[in-house]
Symmetry: D3
Subunit: 125 residues, 6 copies
Amino acid sequence: MSTDESYERGLRETERLLGSRLELPLGKGEPESGQDFRRLAIAHTFGDSWSRSGLDDRGRGLVSVAIAATLGAFEPLRGQLRIALNAGVTKEEIVELFIHLQAYAGAARAFESYQVALAVFAERA
Amino acid sequence: MSTDESYERGLRETERLLGSRLELPLGKGEPESGQDFRRLAIAHTFGDSWSRSGLDDRGRGLVSVAIAATLGAFEPLRGQLRIALNAGVTKEEIVELFIHLQAYAGAARAFESYQVALAVFAERA
Amino acid sequence: MSTDESYERGLRETERLLGSRLELPLGKGEPESGQDFRRLAIAHTFGDSWSRSGLDDRGRGLVSVAIAATLGAFEPLRGQLRIALNAGVTKEEIVELFIHLQAYAGAARAFESYQVALAVFAERA
Amino acid sequence: MSTDESYERGLRETERLLGSRLELPLGKGEPESGQDFRRLAIAHTFGDSWSRSGLDDRGRGLVSVAIAATLGAFEPLRGQLRIALNAGVTKEEIVELFIHLQAYAGAARAFESYQVALAVFAERA
Amino acid sequence: MSTDESYERGLRETERLLGSRLELPLGKGEPESGQDFRRLAIAHTFGDSWSRSGLDDRGRGLVSVAIAATLGAFEPLRGQLRIALNAGVTKEEIVELFIHLQAYAGAARAFESYQVALAVFAERA
Amino acid sequence: MSTDESYERGLRETERLLGSRLELPLGKGEPESGQDFRRLAIAHTFGDSWSRSGLDDRGRGLVSVAIAATLGAFEPLRGQLRIALNAGVTKEEIVELFIHLQAYAGAARAFESYQVALAVFAERA
């Protein structure tokens, strides 16, 4: 099992979970090593965690959404919401997660993060 | 005193503090239970906290702005700034709050949150 | 459905989830209204969220642990870990949650919060 | 107005607000410049913010407690609670602040930070 | 050494580090004291820290970027990235910093903050 | 290059940076998979980031301390401070880092995290 393997496995996981391989081309003016940033991020998240069998996709989906929503990391939250819904978490369960977030992490953060959920719900109206 | 009552009381508080009832219609593709998220958020913040007598509106306004600005929760911060100004907190006191925030929570967060204050100041120029 | 009812329902939920009612007596020198802080906290978390049927206890347990671990709120994390294990989340799933947390919220926060998990694992060795 | 003056003014403010000048001796093995860290921290907070007239001590006390409690910065929170109580904020108002914090920043953070308030309440039982 | 001197020194530092003095005019509807907010922020950051000799500009640049990226304070992060690159930190070192951030503060925050780095890289393509 | 190789390389890095291999035995009642949590944490931080050549140990040391101090992750901060000092960052530079942190992330968080620096300084008095 190698980091390169972790990356390859990670790419396969993004395909399985998102329906297409995550494409992250080098940006304008970005150094070549920028690809290492992306490769390690994908290896560590999708390759080394999402691929594991100890927690099912639904559980991992709930956990991922909860982490990104608590941090207020909106673009990652959007991706995790799509993954969670693809993995069988229902919109209703997402709403319950935000009700829980509102109680434990507060209305300010929950209200803000919920706007991202609304945008993802609208994609699937 | 019921959660429904808390919600109703909360709606009356938003009217008292913002000049109109907070309208939060269901979004496109949002499940029905999304209304429970909004109702509980309003019940817990406006119904169960803003309605209490132990701290006056000015004090609660300062506290609300400080919490949202420290978290960097920008859209909630915008609402809390409007409420605080409506409750008699002056623009000058808001500036002092951000000077305090800059010292205790740092220039990075304070500078960022202050942009929201500038937008609200401009509404009332 | 009343806030008093929310509180009573919340107390019953703590009994169901923790095996005994959460006892939170008034502290030395604490004003009487300190009970309102506790009552509202229990009403909003256990009464108005844990009691809902839209997400099962296992899912809510995972979400609660993820939120508290991401925030680095250690004493609440301890309680949520106990609740999650009581609700049927396995220790192995808790480990997977922390592997996920390490990837998404980082090794610094995950390592720190995992110490609380180790203490709760030891209670149930 | 000099940073040295800010520091001196800050020391006088700590005396006014806490009843005695904040004493922060150099630690074992700490480089001499460690005093600059303390001097700048006191100059920036007490010298350049607490000394200003645009917000009264009660308002600044509420704001300081709200910031430290939201961050979960416990030792600074302890100091800010003492200052707020000395400045005429009542224990009851502190409780209201935490009820507000519980709603906006969540039960996990509020519950944790409230333990520091309980310790300060006990000092003044 | 005065706060006014700190501010003047800070302005000279912004010129040295950014190529031009930071211009921060009063906003529409902003009270006069808003200038104190800016002056104190510049005095405390550029005047009292960047001007110090104990850590070189490259080191301070790395530290500033790490702090702003960890907080997710995007607009301040943009400024700190420009300063760091002006001070001789290379784009490749910035990428390494984000690889480190991804490991210690997590992929969610790192991925989000890295978008700001991509925008600054593009300015210098 | 494999995750197992990343872990082995990470262990060698902890030995190089800390003077001895990081020993993290399984805790009482901890499931076997707890070793995966540790192995992945070490692989991702020490194996996949510290081992890279694009930023020297001093730079990585400053960045690591800044991240952990900004997060208020105290136990990880302690380790990063030891690593930074071993890598040639001076105590004086650590003080400067905290002066910078005080300005950008605020006195509340900086003061709290600085207590960990004081403890590490005392180890090397």
